[in-house]
């Protein structure tokens, strides 16, 4: 079936999907985010079944199905870069500025690394194994961005750090 339709005077119409929304942070998530926001403390949960400290925390261990409520442990704020990529494209959802280093950071005392942005150093100088620490946002926020970014513990070849984001 070969169609060669006449497309004179045909056009496309611009549209947009944008829907303001609210999400329940959960009982475990609320506690985690409040501790970040108000106390600058990073909390994980420890599964008695598999002895794993999970960050971000959650209500149930996905390996053992154990109930993880009230198994809080404090982790970080320092940790180790386990893996990273350098995001070099700008887009609505990508925090400025780019290049943006997104790293899997295993906080001291945690078993599962957390993805966060790494600043305060030249993106080309980031290496696996780098020791980093959390830099908390000056103003209150309601997501993981209570930690604005991570920075190297020891001075590194410098570059502009990430600009703080709007809450």
């Amino acid at each position: 079936m070969e169609l060669t339709p006449d497309l004179r005077d045909c056009f496309t119409v611009p549209g947009k999907l944008a829907l303001p929304y609210t999400y329940f942070a959960g009982r475990i998530g609320s506690r985690f985010l409040l501790a970040l926001q108000e106390e600058h403390r990073i909390l994980g949960v420890r599964c008695a079944g598999c002895a794993t400290v999970l960050v971000p925390p959650r209500a149930t261990c996905d390996r053992c199905q154990a109930d993880l409520a009230d198994t809080w442990v404090e982790v970080g704020p320092a940790g180790r870069v386990e893996n990273f990529t350098v995001v070099r494209y700008a887009d609505r959802h990508v925090p400025e500025p780019v290049p943006l280093v997104l790293a899997l950071i295993r906080l001291d005392g945690a078993d599962t690394p957390l993805v966060h942005r790494l600043g305060g150093m030249d993106p080309e100088a980031v290496r696996v194994g780098l020791r980093v620490t959390a830099v908390f946002a000056a103003e209150p926020r309601d997501t993981l961005l209570c930690i604005d970014h991570f920075r190297p513990l020891a001075p590194q070849p410098s570059a502009a750090g990430p600009r703080p984001q709007g809450g």
């Binding site: 496309t12 990529t85 995001v87 990508v94 943006l100 295993r106 997501t143």
Partner: protein
């Protein structure tokens, strides 16, 4: 014993960067009419298509309940219509289950997507992340793939040069696939010089944005033999989903793909997958995934991806002779197009990229960030 299920016909549109002058219903109708013409089937309750399964994505379609706009095309008025909002190989699996369970004898599977519609594919995949922990830091599937490629490449000895080879080959093969249009061949130097997206991923390592639709007719064995003289049997399917948080996973381990493959091989009675397939169609959304998924499928030794490319493995193992996803299929249709291409090979209808006498093929699909969810299907002919 459960009934065998056969793929009786395959149809697809061309895959293009921007089918601006076609709505998704139009693309799907083109495929449906092709399938009906090939099989002589109707939607009659007396021996016709008993169930229609569509594959689409609400955000790519920019409307909720995206199958709602498809009822007419699917022949679903007063009938059985289902939607798979997942990578399309799940629809084949679903149709297989519907027939084997005895609910229906003939199933239509029809997937569509216009990736050109959203301004940014990364903005769409960003929405797959949770709003508290992973969206705020800017994750999308490209960034997640960058993290996985970084973890995998060193472990498997896969460098920039290997990835360039994979892309050059895919673009070359795409020129032999009549359903791929408007995709230029590239040189290794062009790939090596293309801008980095998320280290070590480059622009030319990523599957091109594309629009199109693909469909299959599935039928129980006795009906399949009436519909076609060359049915392609679904010998085994397996899938597996890994954890949600990237930090909970070993990104270079291929854990979910190894599980999915083991399930598919067991169901197909395959003990030694290394030499079991005449054709392999896998979903390589990014160049590093071609060697990585081959390792996960057990077709290349673990950690041997770089050496495999050096030794001409992709050609020898007849991997993605269609061009693969690197030649351009939408994210949610990758595995379904792979199954369609594998079925064409087994039916002897693969045109310029036909493998003579192909008897058994593997089709693979993947969805989620950094290969979270894999599906493997083993297809055979008589």
């Amino acid at each position: 014993m459960a009934r065998r299920v056969g793929i009786c016909a395959v149809a697809q549109t061309t895959w293009e960067r921007d089918k601006w002058s076609q709505r998704f219903q139009g693309m799907a109708l083109e495929v449906l009419e092709d399938l009906l013409a090939r099989t002589g089937l109707t939607f009659s309750e007396d021996g016709g298509i008993g169930m229609s399964i569509s594959v689409s994505d609400d955000i790519f379609d920019a409307r909720t309940i995206s199958d709602n706009a498809m009822t007419d095309v699917l022949g679903a008025h007063m009938g059985c219509e289902e939607k798979v909002a997942q990578e399309g190989l799940q629809a084949l699996y679903y149709g297989l289950a519907a027939i084997r369970s005895g609910h229906v004898d003939v199933v239509l599977v029809l997937g569509h997507c216009k990736e050109s519609q959203p301004a940014s594919r990364n903005q769409v995949t960003h929405m797959a992340f949770d709003p508290f922990y992973t969206r705020p830091v800017g994750l999308d599937f490209t960034a997640a793939a960058g993290l996985q490629a970084q973890a995998y490449a060193a472990r498997a000895g896969v460098g920039d040069r290997h990835l360039a080879q994979v892309v050059v080959r895919a673009r070359q093969l795409a020129t032999r696939n009549l359903k791929i249009t408007g995709l230029p061949v590239v040189t290794a130097a062009e790939v090596l010089a293309s801008p980095l997206l998320a280290d070590p991923l480059r622009e030319l390592h990523a599957y091109p944005v594309s629009d199109g639709a693909v469909g299959l007719i599935l039928a129980a064995e006795e009906r399949a033999r009436e519909i076609t003289d060359r049915p392609v049997w679904i010998a085994g399917v397996g899938n597996c989903m890994d954890s949600f948080f990237l930090g909970d996973r070993d990104l270079a381990s291929n854990f979910p793909l190894r599980q999915a493959a083991a399930r598919a091989y067991r169901r197909a009675g395959i003990d030694h997958p290394q030499n079991a397939f005449d054709v392999v169609e896998l979903s390589d959304q990014y160049a590093y995934q071609q060697p990585m998924w081959m390792e996960g499928l057990g077709l290349v030794p673990a950690g041997g991806g770089g050496a495999w490319i050096d030794a001409g493995g992709p050609e020898a193992a007849r991997v993605n002779l269609s061009g693969g996803m690197l030649a351009g299929n939408p994210l949610i249709l990758g595995g379904l197009v792979r199954a369609a291409e594998a079925a064409l090979q087994l039916r002897g209808e693969a045109g310029d990229h036909q493998v003579p006498g192909a008897r058994r093929a593997l089709a693979h699909g993947v969805m989620g960030p950094a290969g979270q969810f894999h599906t493997v299907a083993v297809l055979e002919r008589d």
